[in-house]
Every structure is written in C-alpha cells, then in structure tokens.
Symmetry: C2
Subunit: 251 residues, 2 copies
DNA sequence: CGCATGCTTGACTGAACTCAAAGTCCGTGG
DNA sequence: CCACGGACTTTGAGTTCAGTCAAGCATGCG
C-alpha cells in the first residue's frame, strides 16, 4: 500500500474531535433566501415566501464535520471556509473526493443508506448551514421547495463530481495539476474572488490523494509550471500568471 | 493524447443513431411497482396505491440512448441489457463513467443544467423505463412518491459513483482489474445472476477507459489472474474460480 | 527555542504506456 | 453457405513517466 496517502492530519485531529459544541449564545441562523443565494440557485420554485430558517454550525480548522458511518441527519451548505471530503480505505490509504468551499453542498452521500459514507474535515475555520433531514423529508407541503432545492443541488454536485472524476483520467501528472489549478481558479471566481491569485487550503498530500499521484509529484509539477512562467508558487499561495498558458498545458 | 481511448465504436454507431423509433404497436409500459422492484427500493413512501405508468424504450446494441448535451427529458431505469455512460473530451479521449445494467438509473447528470452531460450507449440490446421530467417535477401531489423515489435513487447512484471512483485510486493496474471484477460479480448477484460466471458486456478498451489504464494492461492483468488460477478468462466470458483469491489480490 | 509538519529536490527503480505483430471472433455480403 | 474484413484480443520489446527512498530546508506552533 501507499504509506504516504495516510491522512496527514490524523494524529492531531483526534483530540479536536471531542471539542464540545458551542454555547447556546453562539448559535446563529440563516434564512432560506441566504441558502438560495449561496447555492446560486437559478431554477424555478413554487412558493414565493419562505419562513423556514436553518441553524448554522461553526467549525475550527482540523475539526471533523461528518464522520464516515455516522447516521445521516441532513445536508450542509458551506457558508464560508474550506473542507475536505475523503474516504479512508481498510489499508489506511486516503482518497480525497472533493474540497468543498463556499456554496458547496456536503453530506449528500448519506441519503441512500441513511449514514454518511465519507469523512468531512474542516481545512480552515468554517461555517455550515444545516438542512435537517426532518425538513428534507417533511410531509408538509411548506417544505416542498426545500426538497426541490436539495434535489437540484445534489444533481449539481454530481456534475461537479464527474468533472473532478474526469480530472484524474487519461493525462500525465503535471497536466492533472494544471487542470486542478484551472478548476480551483474557476471555483474562486464563482465565489466572487480573484481568479489569478488564491491560497490553497489543502496540503500537497491532499492534492495528491485527490489526483491520485504522490505529494512529490505535485510538488514537482508546481515547480515545473513555475519554471515555465505559467504560475508562481509560494507555498500555498498561487498566482496564475497566464491562464491561457495553463489551458494550453492541459492537452 | 491517447489515441487508443477514442471510442472504439464511433464509426459504426453513426448510421445507427438515425434509426427510427419503433412503431406504435411495439410501445410497452411499466407500472410504478415494477420500477420499485427494479430499483430495489427499501425506503418508505407516502401513498400505498400508484396508478402512474411509464413508457419503455427499447434499444439495439450500439444505439445511443442519450447524447451529450441533449436537453434533459427525464430519468431512465434499466429494465434489461447493459450500457455505457461516458464523457468524450475535446481531444477525443473517452472516459467511461459507468456500465449501467438492470436496476440502474440513467440520466441523473442532466437535472442540474437541464441537459445530459454524458453520452449513454447500449452495449447490448436494452430495455429502458422512462421517468419523464414532467412527472419528476410535477406540481401534483400524486407524483410526490415518484420524486421521492428519484431522490433516493440518485443518492444511491452517487454512492455507486464514489465506489467506482475509489476503484481507480491508489492501486496497481492489476489490483484495479481485480476490484473491477469483484464489483461486477457483486452487481450480477444483485441482479439475481451467478456471482461466479458472467459475460462482460464491454470491451477491454472500455474497461481501460473506466479504470484509466490501456487496453493492453487490462488484457495482461486478465492473463495474470488467469495464470494465478483466480479466474478463468475466455474472451468476455469470466469464471471466478476463487472469490477469496480475488479479494486477497485487492491489497 | 525546539520539534513536528510540510515542502522541495535528487537518484534510482519499476510499472505502465507505446509501438508492433499476429491470432481470434463475428457479422456482412457475395 | 462460405469467404472476407473489421474489430477485438493477446503477447512481446523498448521506453518513459511517476513512485520510492532519502536528505535537507522552511514554517509555524507550543
């Protein structure tokens, strides 16, 4: 097996898992409208007025948002921060499925079997909005729009998943890295940030586990793209000097 | 780029695409109960009596079920036969996402953007059951159960997708092939067939595009597993001689 | 200040890709 | 019905790319 793919943060996350919940006074709420905006929903809904509010959940960097196998209790929308969803194999090898950020949906793999099938860990401090399963599967007509929204969001996540799935296919390692950076850039744009400069929230090892290459290969690919003048790398701080160069490199 | 990954059947599929629909007399229907059984739905639904029926669609081997980019018009459940869903990149490289068979759902990547994002082609003669988008998004309360069922089935497909996604990660080529065969075996069991003997509906190239290795590597891995006495390969006819041996080989 | 984690780079090795050739199966048309 | 051709498969030989092992530096936290 691949020793390197063992979760880099497994050791120091353990004590943090037992962190107590925040005190009552720190509980905040988000309304339906904010969820719509976060998800950038562009479809059509039945009702015009929504009174439903959703509880938020704040996480510190390194904290586990959802454990693998834990009973399904709802979907979460990222309000801010970055996370990592991953599956750990029996042999300890980790597979990083995605890196959810603002506006992304979390927990949708838990609906089918009524337990979450992947682990979700906060890479930075995070704020999540919880859409509880009671609301999701409510018999009340008032919650139909919530269900429909979730339906739409899940389909969107599937597409996202397929895109990143394709990312790791049929290409040399440095091409995968170039694609990864391009997609990261596009995601930052979608969140309203700069496409040309951003800070990666994940380690080289995480990226490697995501693209199915080793962390050394990621590092070398970054250095190579830097030498070509396409990007500038300073630890996790990435500047894209030529987006066209990056795109050309992808084939 | 990888010339080998160009769809092997691209040439002779073209004329078949224009096949006319079957005559009216050949149109058949399936009721809600049959769909439930095919999907092996084990959740809870509100209503007890369903009158909704769904039109079937028959395909010949090689025919395209759904084109990439085509407007979304519904979900499909496989009644019998085997298909391949794939995405073709700009450079002509094909990525085989999945091989849907009896009881699997097709077309769920089309909901988000209202057009299908992958191509689906029949590998054998097929029979599909169509759940039209009108029913899926019907404002009628009578169709709530259809929507709920689709919701559940999509979540199941996500899990399936993540499983096969993990399949291609962090393992040597022959281990991937062993995993692939084990999963195929399990799927045949779920469909009520033998776990130890089955005929693969797809080519070596298709498997390669799915596992992200070349067709030669697939062929060599099959030969290696055959030599080890774990399986017996005769073209597409697979006999699993030792399921334990196959499992042990996976690590 | 010290240590753990993360990152970079180099040298070597091995697994998978590429190219090539030959055999097998199957559908089609004569 | 049989012959042909194309697609599919197998196997071999050489090459390349990424993994492995190792060493050293940077960073940030306690």
């Amino acid at each position: 097996m691949n020793v390197q793919s063992i979760s880099s943060s497994a050791r120091w996350q353990l004590p943090i898992r037992q962190l107590p919940d925040l005190p009552e006074s720190d509980v905040h709420w988000s309304d339906f409208q904010e969820v719509l905006e976060l998800l950038q929903f562009d479809g059509h809904l039945g009702q015009t007025h929504h009174t439903r509010v959703f509880q938020r959940r704040r996480l510190k960097a390194g904290q586990i948002a959802l454990n693998m196998g834990q009973p399904f209790d709802g979907l979460y929308v990222v309000r801010f921060g970055a996370l990592k969803t991953s599956m750990t194999h029996v042999d300890g090898a980790e597979h990083a499925l995605a890196f959810p950020m603002k506006g992304d949906l979390i927990g949708f793999d838990g609906i089918c079997k009524n337990r979450y099938l992947s682990e979700v860990v906060a890479l930075t401090d995070c704020d999540l909005i919880k859409i509880p399963s009671e609301v999701l599967f409510s018999p009340s007509r008032a919650d139909d729009d919530v269900e429909r929204l979730a339906f739409w969001a899940i389909s969107r996540e599937i597409v996202q998943e397929q895109t990143t799935y394709a990312l790791t296919h049929s290409a040399k390692a440095d091409v995968r890295v170039a694609r990864f950076l391009r997609i990261q850039s596009e995601r930052f744009v979608a969140m309203g940030y700069s496409p040309n400069q951003f800070k990666l929230p994940m380690t080289r090892r995480d990226i490697g586990n995501h693209l199915n290459v080793t962390l050394e290969t990621i590092s070398r690919a970054f250095s190579a793209l830097d030498k070509l003048g396409i990007i500038s790398v300073e630890r996790r701080e990435i500047k894209i000097l030529s987006l066209d160069g990056l795109r050309n490199f992808e084939r």
